[in-house]
């Protein structure tokens, strides 16, 4: 591995894994024109260059550039931020209006097949063939992914065990609860032993214990593959993502490790006990991230550049504060993260 010709980013120094490049507006480095960073040939790489997606004149994704390597990339953003549009572009279902997406050097817009062979994708919304059993449905999707019948049978049986649906037998998927159906979705995403696993709001319908186990599973998988986890639930990614991107209104707003994101909110988070009727007024001056009702009033936690309420004391930010800060603050300067 040769040395990059620009200052090293922290990931490059600390990890032998893929480096993350944010858009020029964030880091002052154009990922396209900057001298290439070299990785060992066997390391997989997904690269987005100035990707924009427009639907009927409305921009869903605006000039997003990313370079992603093995590990978990947590994609955070409010509803309507463009996360699902970006996921669909990465999973080759939708073409970007402009920009390129490269998988190990291959343009997947022009040639999606190389990526599709190693892709596992769990969409936010998906249907099932309601009359098929989970096994039949998964075996069909295994064939769609090009698995041989023997391999399909083996993997389907193992995955049904992994998601604990073995006992459902011949019961039609159409009668499954939301959580069971989501587990079928997760199983199908893992069918092809994917090198790139894209999961869009994967924990919807899972119970708390399943969510925890699923997060661990993703973390386990991410040792030697790329996992992109899109969600608007901060707690879903804070324990497993070593790399977080925040998308707002189609634009990449922040990019960094959890620690870096936390630092970006240093000195901006405040707490105070206030009367109940003061909350509305505070909401106009600051972004409230939490309220707890007590006998003495309401304990308010808010993000603001100056103390937003009388008696406010600065507190340590958590990832949710950092996320709210990133979403609600104007476009962050490059130095805000690193």
């Amino acid at each position: 591995m040769s040395l990059p010709t620009r200052p090293l980013l922290r990931d490059e120094v600390e990890c032998s894994r893929k480096v993350v490049l944010a858009p020029p507006s964030i880091r002052g480095v154009d990922p396209v024109t900057a001298p290439p960073v070299e990785w060992s040939a066997e390391v997989m790489q997904l690269e987005l260059n100035h990707v924009t997606k427009t639907y009927r004149g409305k921009q869903a994704v605006t000039d997003v550039s990313l370079r992603v390597g093995p590990g978990v990339l947590g994609l955070l953003g409010p509803n309507g931020a463009g996360k699902s549009s970006l996921m669909r572009i990465l999973s080759t279902i939708t073409r970007p209006t402009t920009g390129t997406v490269m998988w190990n050097g291959t343009d997947i817009v022009a040639r999606p097949e190389p990526l599709r062979r190693v892709l596992g994708y769990l969409p936010q919304d998906f249907g099932v063939y309601p009359n098929l059993s989970a096994g039949e449905f998964l075996r069909y999707l295994a064939a769609v992914k090009g698995l041989t019948s023997r391999s399909a049978k083996e993997r389907v049986d193992e995955l049904l065990e992994l998601v604990n649906l073995t006992e459902t037998g011949s019961r039609p998927v159409g009668t499954f609860s939301g959580g069971m159906r989501q587990r079928v979705g997760i199983a199908q995403a893992l069918l092809g032993d994917p090198e790139l696993l894209i999961v869009d709001e994967p924990t919807v319908g899972l119970d708390p214990e399943e969510r925890m186990r699923f997060r661990n599973l993703l973390g386990d998988l991410a040792n030697d593959r790329i996992v992109i986890l899109s969600t608007h639930i901060v707690s879903d990614i804070e324990s497993i993502a070593d790399d977080i991107a925040i998308l707002t209104a189609g634009e990449l707003r922040r990019r960094g490790t959890p620690e870096e994101l936390l630092r970006s909110a240093d000195g901006l988070v405040w707490e105070a006990m206030v009367p109940v009727d003061a909350v509305t007024e505070i909401r106009q001056r600051a972004t409230i991230t939490r309220t707890v009702r007590t006998a003495q009033g309401v304990r308010v936690r808010a993000v603001a550049h100056t103390p937003p309420m009388p008696g406010a004391r600065p507190v340590e930010p958590d990832l949710e504060d950092a996320y709210v800060n990133a979403v609600h603050s104007p476009m962050a300067p490059a130095g805000a993260i690193r």
Binding site: Y121, P123, S151, N164, D220
Partner: protein, 512 residues
Amino acid sequence: MTGAVAAVAMADFRDRSRRPAFLVTVLGAVALGYVAVPPVSATYAMVKVGSFRGLYDSAYIGMLLAMIGSLWLPLFGFYVVRSSIARDISTSVGETLSASPLRTSMYLLGKYLSNLAVLAAMAAALALIAPVMQLLRGESTSLDMTALWLPIVLFCLPVLTVAAAAAVVFETVPLLRGGAGNILWFFVYPSMFLAGIPLAYGSITAGFQADLATQHPGMDDEISIGFTAEPGALGQFTWSGMDIDTTLVAASAGLIAASTIVAILPSLWFGRFDPARWQRTPSHVSAAPATEAPVAPAFSQSPRTLSPAERGQSFPGLLLGEVRIHLGSVSRWWWLTLAIVTITALAVPADRVGTALLFAWLLPVLLWSRLGTLTYEQGVAPLVQCGVSSRIRLIAEWGAGVLIAVIAGVGPLVKMLLAADATGVAAWVAGATVIPALALLIGSIGRTARVFQAVYLLIWYAVLNGVAAVDVMGVLRTDGSLGGPSPLLSFGVSAVLIAATVLVQEIRHARR
């Protein structure tokens, strides 16, 4: 409650009228108006009295369009409007509404009014094209808007209320909710129309015949409404117009009132979107709350213990999957009916096996109609679109359609083999390939099952009535020879249809 009914009707109508399909529907009505008033040189007629038609003045064109509209708009409009309640199920809007104080009868009334509004928009398109057609044909340049439009209001609109109400009723009866209802309507409505002609149009047709007898004494005066091929130009007579009396108006009002009552009648049994009361499980909706108690917590193992994924020949798995998907929804009644048809086909004389095949291949129409559509209807597209074998999947889906044809037509096939009827067998094989290919193309383009259902039923009906040009099944024979296209031609058409489907897929993929 009137406000609630209006809100249901308006919301539903707005939702439908903003879809591209609505514009297509209205344009279809305009096209019907154009076709219904053929030029002198045309070799067909849609309304005729013996070998005559009326002079194209305002009175005749108005009545002609009212008659044609009464037959065709409810027949096809029914398919356009009948998904209103199903949409509320799939979008879960119904569950929200069912938790509101809105009464079921009011909800159904709103849906009925929305259906009627869509159908009325088609009738309005027909009314707008009426003066254009009169001027275009140029036989009378004197426009009388009352004479042009009143028949559409008095005759066509009331009949449209029947279709609007029937759509509501069909959606609330489990057996009629799916494709079986579509097929039933195709046969029931024309029968209702024919039976109703003497009641609704009795005085009109009598007026036609009286004017013809006065102007051309002794000529055949049999009335024909629908579509007939004509070897030569029709003669003309001048219709003196209709007399509006209170009986006519009362009959129209009575039909509207009866339809309205029929539309709200399902409130007696409609289950207000309680999933437990729906027999079939619609996409994305659980039939019943499933308990997860017997299932242990998931994700307790490491994914690293999984065996490696091996890629290679996956077509057999795809074909098997497609067959399972398409035959999985079939009820035991379907299999029972198939068994009866198969036994009948084996029992009939060899020269009647074609008719047996015609009926055998009516059975799979609902299954074929879902080729190319099911992936989208069930919301599975995001899962399969990023698969590696979209072309192979298409071929597998077509293969499943062929297999369905084989299963449904096995009785007639065996009979033909036993009779050493090589021509029949060749036509059978050609039919088994071309019909699924047509279904796949239509389904891939429109992504709705209804279009193929309508197209196939028209073809089937035409073959039943001896139209050899569309007989791809080899049903119509003259001295043992095929009356319709040769099997070779059908094979060629199959190849073209599959290629066209792949092309549609490629274009969609390129524009994704």
